[in-house]
Subunit: 143 residues, 2 copies
Amino acid sequence: MILSTKGRYGLKAMFELGLQYGKGPIPLKVIAERQTIPENYLEQLIAILRKAGLVKSVRGAQGGYLMLRPPEEVTVGQVLLALEGPMAPAECVTDSESPKCKLASGCVTRGVWEKISHSIHDVIDTMTLQHMIEEQISTIEKE
Amino acid sequence: MILSTKGRYGLKAMFELGLQYGKGPIPLKVIAERQTIPENYLEQLIAILRKAGLVKSVRGAQGGYLMLRPPEEVTVGQVLLALEGPMAPAECVTDSESPKCKLASGCVTRGVWEKISHSIHDVIDTMTLQHMIEEQISTIEKE
DNA sequence: TTTAATCTTGACAAATTTAGTAGGGTATTC
DNA sequence: GAATACCCTACTAAATTTGTCAAGATTAAA
Ligand code: FES
Ligand code: FES
C-alpha cells in the first residue's frame, strides 16, 4: 500500500509553493526541476490542486502558481485528499455521504478500518505545510 | 487511498479462520459464503496467506484451511503485509532493505511519510485477530 | 506591437494492477 | 470409486498509473 506518485509528487510541489508563499508566483518549470518531477505530468497534478482550491495560477510571463492561503493553514491531509482521494483503508470509514457498506452492522473488519483511519488523520490533519518547512530548516541546520 | 479487495477480503477470511481456531479445518466455500467473497478469487488470496505462513491447508474431504498459530499471535499487520505489501505511504519508510530514495537527506516529504507509517503500524501491529473477535462479540452483545 | 513566458486543455498510450472467471489436476476420505 | 476439497495456471475486461505530446490561450515585458 504505497501511495501513488500523484500524492508523493504533489506534496513535494506544495512544499515548494509553501516556501514561496508571499513572494509572488513560481513557474511549474522551477518546481519540476527542484523536485525532479516530469513537468508535463506535474501540470496535470497541479490542475487537480487548483480545482481543489489549494493553489491559483497567474498566466503570462512572470506568471506561475501560488498558494491561496498561508502554509500554516494548509494541512498535508488537504493535499493528499485532493490527489489520492480519502486517506482511509475502506470507503465505509470516510466522511463521504456514501455509506456503501450495507453490512456495516455485523461487519467484522470495520473496527479495524476505523482505528487505522483515525490514526492516519491524527497525523495528516494536524500537520501543515508550515510544519514541513520548519522541520526541513531544522534538519538542514544540523548538518 | 482505499485498500484493494485483496486486503479487505483477506482480513475477513482470516477472521473466520480465527473463530474456527482449534476446531479443525474449515473449507473455503464456507468462508466465501459467510463473507460474500467470490470463491475462486478467495482461493488466490488464501494461497498468498499460505505462502506467507499464516495458514495451512488440509486436502481431501473434510479438509479445508486452518491457522498455524492462535489468533492472539496473528496481527492485522501481518495479514495486510502479505496481501497489500508494506503498509506505508512511501517505499523509503519501509523496513525492506531497499533504501530506494537516494534523496533521503534533503527530502522534504520523508518526515511526513515516517509519521504516517508509524501511526499506521501503532494500530496494525498491536491489533490481533483475537482483538477483532472480542470486539465483535461485545458489539453483538449490545444488540 | 511583437515576442516570449506561462498556463490550459485535451488526446494518446504503455505498463501495471485489480478483480475476477474458468477449468483441469491432485489428494483424501467415506 | 465417488464425493469433497485443495491446487495451479491461464485468461480477461476494466481501471489506474505514469507519463508524453501538441495546440492554443493569456499576459508581461521589450
Ligand atoms: S468494510 Fe465497510 S462496513 Fe465492513
Ligand atoms: S520520498 Fe523517500 S526520501 Fe523522500
